[in-house]
Amino acid sequence: MGTDQTALQSPILSLTGISKQFPGVRALEGVDFQIFAGEVHALMGENGAGKSTLINIISGLLQPTSGQIFIGGQEVIFSNALQAQKAGISTITQEFNLVPQLTVAENIFLGREPKRRIGLLNWPEIRRRASDVLKELKLNVPLNQRVSYLSVGDRQLVEIAKALSMDFRIITMDEPTAALNATEVARLFEIIERLKQRGIAVLYVSHRLREIFQIADRVTVLRDGKRVDTRRLEEVSEDDVVTMMLGRALKKEETIYEAIQASEKAALSVKNISVPGVLSNISFDLRPGEVMGCAGLIGSGRYELTRALFGLERISEGKIHINGQPAVLNSPNGALRHSLYMLPEERKVEGIFPDLTVRENLLISAKRLFQRLSELLIDTNEEEKQYDKMRALLRIRASSSAQGITKLSGGNQQKVMLGRALMSNSRILLLNEPTRGVDVAARVEIHAAIRKLAHTGYAILVSSSDIPELVTVSDRCLVLSAGRAKGLLNRAQINEDNVTALAIGQEITGDSK
């Protein structure tokens, strides 16, 4: 669809010579961009390449310093987001614009509710039109369900339903699959396919190369605020796109893994632990020098397992031993005292302190800070030393240790989070989604760092929805399904098919013990 037409049609949205100057920095420089009706157009680039700035200009949140925007051949100027919406551009961001306390139908028509003549809401009309859109999306949720009860994937579809009900012609999706499970991703792609058939242009931003090749027709790559190229995806390989993004070829993922001789004694030994309603009867040993993957769909209890070990969920039964000693973990503080650290799943929600500096964010869990009275005052020199060490080890790119954490790119923020794990003095690391929202180059660096840490004797559990990631870093891989351990794969057995099969509850051929 759209393959040959694009040359003949005129673009539905066209940007020419777009530049954006921020105080002291040029975020975009002379970017040309066109998107056609019925096209899925991917926008790629490293963190900081200017993708977000471009999206924000298209959605009216930012105004370009120079350059023109045309919709259907007509020049437009958006001074705010509402004007862009009126021109038919919908933006679906990672943070949804839904009101959690309102129902699905109320959210779809929020702000433009069909009314009766005397000003009362026309409920039958709202319900009819909402259910039409939902049917079209094959979204099976009750219209009067409150949005707060929906999964992330369903919320995203409600957001798409809202866009459809408003007759948008261009839908921008920023990392739409970041929080979705495999089933939800497949459903989203089906819907994008249908949007294409309706002649809607989809501007798709993602770090996940594989998805781009699966769903998009063309790709535009940005680097340093400039457009590198726009190519048809059947003309390029994944490596080509990466090279365009980085300006050089990337170290291969496959070269990261190197076998390590793990120690015999378990650092963390979990025996038959259960968390009411979420996990039952989970057992595993995690040894120093090994990276154990943990896979599972949303609802498998994967995140809850790490939370429970970190003292954030109540463990109803079972035993935990740390370095051979029985341990009771009922608070993050207690877990830290047992040398166990958990990297939270969502950096923005449970990770970063937006008001603190890079250094303060890095060292917030450093134990010695809050223990002895003799160390009441923070030793800034010592902190700088630790910061320099971490910056070198994890290749954190920040202008200084006193820079605000929110000024860093997502990948560098994630490295600071990883640094926090190391600075906590913990030898057992439970890492959730270590590369979420991180660009390809940083991803490789983080994976390499995880292997390096295991080499130096850390015991690491990597819990991730990103199965290729687990294949890259794990020595063994625990797969959870509906709150139970479905299998424990060894290195030779770890591949995407096996992990996926176990995660959706199927058996795999061969012994999974």
């Binding site: 340093d224 993050p332 970063i352 603190l356 006193a402």
Partner: protein, 337 residues
């Protein structure tokens, strides 16, 4: 990442860091500039404002507000605030005035400070252990403590007749400057060190900035919350002692609206009600500004009713500035992915 990309990123972060730092400097400068303007205007318009006696009195009034304002800034940085400080101020003033007829002044002062500490800790325990909102707890305590103050005094005034040297805490001078100013400076220095150079202060800002992340980072939320409210109680008590030594006769009706003043000087000084950071020097400047305005209005014989008007308007003005500032920062962050 290539060098070009790295340097580009660093450059962009640098300029943004500078822009934000400028905003921060402008925040404390903003209230400082306002202070200079108001002092100049008052000196011209209000004859008798720019005299040693009046400036001293203004400085004393500002110091009393600033001490509690500094504690309040800590609480606001943690994402909370304390509405009971006015009641704590009056109760501790009564405590010190009553004790002074029984014991030596240092012990009486200690008694008042411990009273403030105890109330603050109780606030903190109720907020953290019972998971009640700070608004509800301190709003309730505001009334409870006022009630206690009325009960212990039976509605009568308490006059300080023994140890009149207690008044030196107010009208004593060092190098020509009033003692309350030095008390305020000491509190400022201690709180600045606590906020910037201890894990306690950092953890308070962490809780205010992102509570969920603070829990996951192993910050002991309950302990920090209790300690911060204890600290606010102590600063309110110091203000209470200062008030008692200023008036030498206290009763349970004093200190109404003091909580509003403390919150206003914090916010006006550049500490955002959304929590995450505290601007202590801004609080001091804002307290000076508030006292200057009050003094000028007094000299100009504006009836005191208008002072309430001015106070409320200033608070709303400060909040409007805060909102605009956050919008600016949000906008400058939009450029980042």
């Amino acid at each position: 990442m290539s060098n070009a990309v790295a340097s580009h990123n660093v450059r962009s972060s640098l300029s943004l860091a500078n822009a934000t730092r400028l905003v921060q400097v402008a925040e404390s400068l903003g209230v400082f500039v306002l202070l200079v303007i108001v002092v100049t205007t008052a000196s011209i318009l209000a004859p008798g404002f720019f005299t040693y006696t009046n400036l001293t009195n203004t400085l004393i009034a500002a110091s009393i507000t600033a001490v509690t304002g500094l504690g309040m800034t800590f609480a606001i940085a943690m994402g909370g605030f304390d509405l009971s400080v006015g009641s704590v101020q009056v109760l501790t003033a009564i405590v010190v005035a009553s004790l002074i007829s029984i014991v030596d002044p240092p012990l009486a002062i200690l008694g008042a400070v411990l009273t403030g500490l105890a109330i603050g800790l109780l606030n903190g325990v109720l907020i953290s252990k019972l998971r009640l909102p700070a608004f509800v707890v301190t709003f309730g305590m505001m009334s409870v403590i006022r009630g206690v103050a009325l009960l212990v005094t039976q509605g009568q005034s308490v006059m300080i007749t023994k140890h009149i040297e207690f008044g030196l805490l107010n009208n004593g001078k060092i190098l020509g400057l009033p003692v309350p100013f030095f008390i305020m400076v000491i509190v400022f220095v201690i709180l600045s060190i606590l906020l910037k150079n201890t894990a306690f202060g950092r953890h308070a800002c962490a809780i205010g900035g992102n509570r969920a992340a603070a829990i996951v980072s192993g910050v002991n939320i309950d302990r920090v919350t209790i300690a911060v409210f204890g600290l606010v109680g102590v600063t309110a008590a110091i203000s209470g002692v200062m008030l008692a030594s200023q008036l030498m006769i206290v009763d349970a009706t004093l200190g109404t609206g003091f909580e509003l003043q403390a919150i206003t000087v914090s916010v006006l000084g550049g500490t955002s009600l959304s929590g995450g950071h505290g601007n202590l020097i801004g609080t001091v400047f804002a307290a000076l500004l508030l006292a200057t305005i009050a003094s000028a209005l007094n000299i100009l014989k504006v009836i005191s009713f208008y002072q309430y008007l001015a106070m409320g308007a200033l608070l709303i003005f400060a909040l409007a500035i805060d909102t605009a500032r956050r919008a600016f920062i949000a906008k400058s962050l939009l450029s980042r992915s």
